[in-house]
Symmetry: C2
Subunit: 311 residues, 2 copies
C-alpha cells in the first residue's frame, strides 16, 4: 500500500466524509507540558472514523458487486458505518448482529438503512450467518479492520491531520482491531516529517502489545475493559504494517481511561468514547517522555450510551 | 447602545476571546425541518459566553479603577468568567460566594485567579460583603447581566454568528438575567438581515415571559429548574432592550430541556449545559412555526457537573 494508493483513497472518499476539525486546549497543554492537537473523528459522519474505511471499501467494489450489496458482522461502530456508507452510495448493507445486542444499536443500524439479521450470540453463528448471506445474496463480506481498503480509509484521518499540522512529532491512536493504527502509521510515514506513531491499548486487552513482542498475532482470554471498541484482535493485513511503522504501544489502566475521558469532556466540552480516550490516556501516562513535543491524538469516535456513563 | 459601540466592543475584546465555531448537524436539521446553526460558546474560554461581557466590562474601566480590582457576587459562570478575564488583563477579581457553594466552584474560581470571599448564603449577606469590598479595596462592582458593557460583550457572539451566516431568519438565545438575550437582540438588529431574536425560558422560571406581558420586571417565587443559569431576573438596563428588540419568548418544560440537551450531546457530540439546551428546546417545541427557516442557536455554555447528569 504505497503513498499513491493512500492519496487516491482520500480523493475517492472526500465527497462522502467530513474533514473533521482539529481542536486544542490550553489547559490540557499545560497539564501535559506539550502541544496537543486532537483530530475529532467523534464529529465524523455517524460519529466515528470507521465511516472512512467503510466508504472506501464499498467504492472499490466493482459495479456488479455493489449491486449485490455488502455484509459484515458487528455490533459496534462498523455496523453503523457500513450501513451509512452503503446508504450514501445506494448499496444494500446486511448487518449480522447477535440477538442479545442492545436494541438501541439495532435501531441505530436500521436508522442508517442497514438490514439487520439476528443470530445466536456466538462468533460461529455470526460467521455462519455472514457466509449464508454471501452465498444467498452474492453480497461481499467486508471486515471492520483487516482489509487493505479499510486500512487505507482509516489512514486518511491522520493524512488530514498532517495536512493542517505538518510538524507533528507524534501521533497517538487507539489500538483495537488494528485498522486505525495501521492506517495512521502509513499516513505518518508518507506525509509526516519524522512523525512517529504510538498506539494506546488497555492493559485488559493488550493483545497488540504482546503481538509486537512475540511477533505473532496474540489474542485476549478476557476482555474486561470499558473501551468496548478495542476488544478485537489484529489481523494478517494490518499486523505487518503495525510491526513496521508503529514505534511502540503504551498500555493504560481502566481508571486512566476514565480519567482521560473525563478530562476531554470537561476541558474540551466534547463527547468521546472510552476507546478513544485510550490514546490520550497513553500520552498522559508517559507525559514526561513527550515534554514540549507536538502531539496529534486521533479521537476516534463519540458514540456513547449516556445512560451508562462511568462518571 | 448604538451599532458603533457594539463594533468597538467587539474589536476591543477580540484578543481575549475565541471566535467560537458554528456547528451544524444533518440529523438535527432533519428532525426540526429547518437549517440550524449552533454558535458554540461552550467552546469559549472558561466554557461560556460570559467571558465576553466580563472582558469588555473590565477593559472599559479607567486605569485607576483597574488597579483597584473588580468585585461581583456569583456562584455561577460569571464568577469564573470575571476571574479569568481579570487574570488575563492583570486585574484583581474579588468573588463573593455563599459559604454553601460547591467546593468545586470555589476551586474553579481560584483556578482562574479569583479571590474567593465567603459569606452567609443570603442575598443580603452577598450584597453587604460586595459593598464592603468596594469600600475597603476601592474595587468596582460588576453585575453579571444588568450592565451596558456586559450586554454589549455578550452581543458579540451573535455578531460573529451573523458575520459567518448573514442570512439567518432567527436567532434563539436562552433568557436568564437578560444580558445574553439583550446583547443578541442588539446584534441581530444591527447586523442581521431581517433577523428576529426569540428567547427560550423554562416554565419554572418564566419571569422574563411575564415581564414582557406586564411591562414591568417580574420575579420568580420558586426556581425549580435544571437550567441553573436561568434562575436570575431581568434588570433595568437589559429589560428595555428586550422589550424593543426581542420578538417573543417561548417557554419550555423541564423534560423538554433534558431532551434537547440529550439530542445535542448525542447527535453533535458536544457538551452543553441545561441552560443552553433551553434555546434549542424552544425551537423544537414550536418547530412547525420555523419550517425551512435558517435558525441560529446560541449554545451559551458547557460547564456541567459530570457527576450529576440528568440522563
Amino acid at each position: 500500500m504505497d503513498k499513491q494508493r493512500l492519496i487516491a483513497c482520500h480523493e475517492r472518499i472526500k465527497p462522502f466524509i467530513h474533514n473533521t476539525p482539529v481542536l486544542t486546549s490550553r489547559s490540557i497543554d499545560k497539564m501535559v507540558g506539550a502541544q496537543l492537537f486532537f483530530k475529532c473523528e467523534n464529529f465524523q459522519r455517524m460519529g466515528a472514523f470507521k465511516m472512512r474505511g467503510a466508504v472506501n471499501a464499498i467504492l472499490q467494489l466493482s459495479e456488479h458487486d455493489r449491486e449485490k450489496g455488502v455484509v459484515t458482522h458487528s455490533s459496534g461502530n462498523f455496523a453503523q458505518a457500513l450501513s451509512l456508507a452503503a446508504q450514501s452510495l445506494g448499496v444494500k448493507a446486511f448487518i449480522v448482529m447477535p440477538s442479545n445486542a442492545p436494541q438501541v444499536k439495532k435501531e441505530a443500524v436500521r436508522g442508517y438503512g442497514g438490514i439487520v439479521l439476528e443470530c445466536e450470540p456466538t462468533l460461529e453463528a455470526r460467521e455462519a450467518q455472514s457466509r449464508a448471506i454471501q452465498e444467498k445474496e452474492g453480497a461481499t463480506f467486508l471486515h471492520p479492520s483487516n482489509d487493505d481498503e479499510v486500512i487505507l480509509g482509516q489512514g486518511t484521518a491522520c493524512k488530514e491531520l498532517l495536512e493542517s499540522h505538518p510538524d507533528l512529532n507524534y501521533v497517538f491512536a487507539p489500538v483495537g482491531g488494528g485498522g486505525l493504527v495501521a492506517g495512521t502509521a502509513l499516513a505518518a510515514t508518507y506525509f509526516g516529517n519524522n512523525c512517529s506513531v504510538i498506539g494506546g491499548e488497555p492493559f485488559e486487552v493488550d493483545d497488540a502489545y504482546r503481538s509486537l513482542q512475540s511477533g505473532i498475532i496474540e489474542t485476549n482470554t478476557a476482555t474486561n475493559t470499558i473501551a468496548d471498541g478495542l476488544k478485537t484482535q489484529l489481523g494478517d493485513r494490518n499486523f505487518p504494517i503495525i510491526q513496521q511503522h508503529v514505534e511502540r504501544i503504551i498500555r493504560v489502566a481502566e481508571e486512566e481511561i476514565v480519567n482521560a475521558m473525563r478530562i476531554i469532556w470537561e476541558r474540551m466540552k466534547i463527547i468521546c468514547e472510552p476507546s478513544c480516550a485510550v490514546a490520550f490516556a497513553a500520552v498522559l501516562r508517559e507525559k514526561e517522555q513527550f515534554a514540549d513535543q507536538k502531539i496529534g491524538v486521533i479521537l476516534s469516535g463519540g458514540n456513547v450510551d449516556l445512560g451508562n456513563l462511568p462518571f
